[in-house]
């Protein structure tokens, strides 16, 4: 009976893993098959078919894709950096100082509550405002917006990280005559470096994946990867091999980033309710 139970558990685990992993493998498989082979039920490269890197080469040589990859990179790094800068300062204030009106709790809730607003509400105002300021189809507009939408994550993750840091070290520095900024820069930041890096990385991954505003506000020169992908099947039909390459080109960056920041992800996704 116990054995059956254990075997059942393994079966469930393996089924779940196959369910999760199959789409990734399918994308990879199609990306290294020739167009003729994509409809063959072959699953193992080298043994059942001869893999080719031709589609990777041709997609990576396409100017639109290169430009989109560059845009996505700039947007992610720029947005995450702004979110981290603002978020670190605000999180430190929430963790170490006491605010009266509004209270620390109310301020934290205010930052978290930004996440409840449906993004589509902002399509119209952002479009009209960016048009006003001449920022339509600019990378800068997407940097600003993604920084805005990832800022709550940064504030929440980091205010907990700072709370976990013992106060004594900072207090010693303050007694020795350091200013708050000095002790913040020379003691707090170095000690919380892993948390800061993870926050930066998570904000990058979210910014990379953002689609709604990228679609609304770009038309040509600022188009990032997710928008390239969304328009693709209508211009060239479904070509499995290019789908495979493009999907992986888009997904790999945020996935690798997320695995690097694994330890902080639960905390970020539950808006700080769980330490993870």
């Amino acid at each position: 009976m116990r054995l059956v139970y254990r075997a059942g558990l393994w079966l469930v685990t393996i089924l779940a893993l196959v369910w999760v992993l199959f789409p990734f493998y399918w994308a990879f498989l199609n990306s290294i098959k020739t167009p003729d082979e994509t409809f063959q039920p072959t699953w193992i490269p080298f043994l059942q078919f001869q893999p080719t890197l031709e589609h990777w080469r041709s997609q990576l040589a396409t100017p639109e894709i290169r430009h989109a990859l560059l845009n996505s990179t700039i947007i992610s790094i720029g947005a995450a950096t702004i979110a981290l800068l603002l978020g670190t300062l605000a999180a430190y204030a929430l963790a170490r100082f006491r605010f009266k009106r509004p209270s620390n709790g109310a301020l934290t809730t205010w930052f978290i509550s930004q996440r409840v607003l449906p993004p589509v509400m902002f399509v119209t105002p952002f479009f009209l405002l960016m048009r006003q300021f001449g920022l339509l189809d600019s990378v800068l507009a997407l940097v600003l917006l993604n920084a805005t939408f990832t800022l709550p994550f940064a504030v929440i993750i980091l205010s907990q990280t700072f709370r976990e840091l013992p106060r004594e070290l900072e207090e010693a520095a303050l007694v020795d005559g350091a200013s708050y900024f000095q002790s913040f820069l020379s003691i707090v930041l170095p000690l919380t470096l892993p948390g800061l890096a993870a926050t930066w990385i998570i904000c990058m991954a979210f910014s990379w994946n953002e689609f709604l505003f990228a679609l609304s506000l770009t038309s040509k020169s600022a188009i990032p990867m997710p928008v390239i992908i969304a328009g693709a099947e209508h211009t060239r039909g479904v070509q499995f091999w290019f789908v495979g390459v493009n999907v992986l080109l888009t997904m790999l960056v945020p996935i690798v980033l997320a695995l690097l920041a694994q330890r902080y992800i639960i905390r970020g996704l539950t808006l700080g309710a769980l330490k993870g």
Partner: protein, 311 residues
């Protein structure tokens, strides 16, 4: 003593006069720390929100503001058949995805909450869908759902079933969109529930065992009540996310066939960016906000305990 109470540190230092901080100093410095983020949110969230409210009282034609129309844009919502249809599609999507994700995710977490080899690998793998670009997932799913000899239909026919018209049939198309969301977000429910389970104290379970409780009794009277606030939070986060769904239907079905998978956000997006009817789009945005706020206000009280230590 009044201003000393403003700041935890000065309370502590207050006990020892030698290390006391100058009173005004921490008061000003804390605003320098929190100020930039507050100003940023005011400029990029609150101001656009107010601008959207202003926009919603005007009529637009081809992107140009024409005139003040009061509440007309809000009244229009209730006579707009297509909008009501998108609301219906969204509700089906929300119920279908969130219910399935909660049941599967919590169930798997309860089942696998034990010392197992390869636990970290399992967690790592469960993280993958969460960060896979949703648009890319939807785009990839076009090939997975491919109706002639695509992998899913091949599997179904190998098991003796008939080909499913995944993307050409209105009902199946919505099922297809729902399944992709389930693939992407069940791991989230699973991971968070698992973390919650592992933070429960084992002493309680030891005590229950001494009292002779069965594992079913443990689940019913110990695990679920202890986990309840977290489960409500997961439900809240999933509901909020599901109501804003956009990326997957756009990349997988473009809202079709017909309007079968045209979710609310997609309809609003089209109102704004295809018809440039900005006033009406803004009004639609506020209706969605009201719906989401209703859900939050119903559930939030059950979740508040998780944040209480924040003070």
């Amino acid at each position: 003593m009044d201003s000393a109470g403003d700041n935890r540190r000065s309370v502590e230092y207050g006990a020892d006069p030698k290390t006391a901080q100058p009173k005004g100093r921490t008061d000003r410095v804390k605003y320098l720390f929190i100020g930039p983020a507050v100003i940023w949110v005011l400029a990029f969230t609150i101001f656009p929100l107010l601008y959207a409210l202003y926009t919603s009282f005007y009529t637009y034609r081809f992107g140009q503001r024409l005139g003040f129309v009061g509440l007309d844009n809000f009244v229009r919502i209730f006579g707009d058949v297509n909008l009501l249809s998108s609301l219906r599609v969204t509700l089906i999507f929300v119920v279908g995805t969130v219910a399935t994700e909660m049941i599967l995710g919590v169930g798997l977490a309860l089942l696998l909450n034990r010392e197992m080899r390869g636990k970290n690998v399992t967690r790592g793998i469960a993280t993958l869908p969460l960060f896979a670009t949703p648009v890319a997932v939807g785009y990839l799913a076009i090939t997975l759902y491919y109706e002639q000899d695509g992998p899913i239909n091949s599997l179904i026919s190998a098991l003796g079933g008939r080909d499913v018209p995944w993307l050409s049939d209105p009902v199946w198309a919505l099922v297809a969109v729902i399944l992709v969301d389930i693939w992407q977000w069940t791991p989230f429910v699973f991971l968070v529930t698992l973390s919650g389970l592992q933070s429960l104290s084992s002493e309680l379970y030891d005590a229950a065992r001494v009292d002779g409780a069965s594992s079913l009794q443990n689940l019913r009277f110990l695990t679920l009540p202890l986990l309840a606030p977290l489960l409500w939070l997961i439900l809240l986060l999933r509901l909020v996310e599901a109501f804003r769904v956009f990326d997957i239907p756009v990349s997988l079905t473009l809202g079709g066939p017909g309007r079968a998978t045209e979710v609310y956000s997609l309809y609003t997006y089209r109102t704004a960016m295809r018809f440039f009817d900005h006033g009406y789009a803004a009004a639609q945005g506020f209706l969605l906000l009201v719906i989401v706020m209703l859900i939050v206000s119903v559930i939030f009280s059950r979740v508040r305990g998780l944040y209480e230590e924040e003070g």
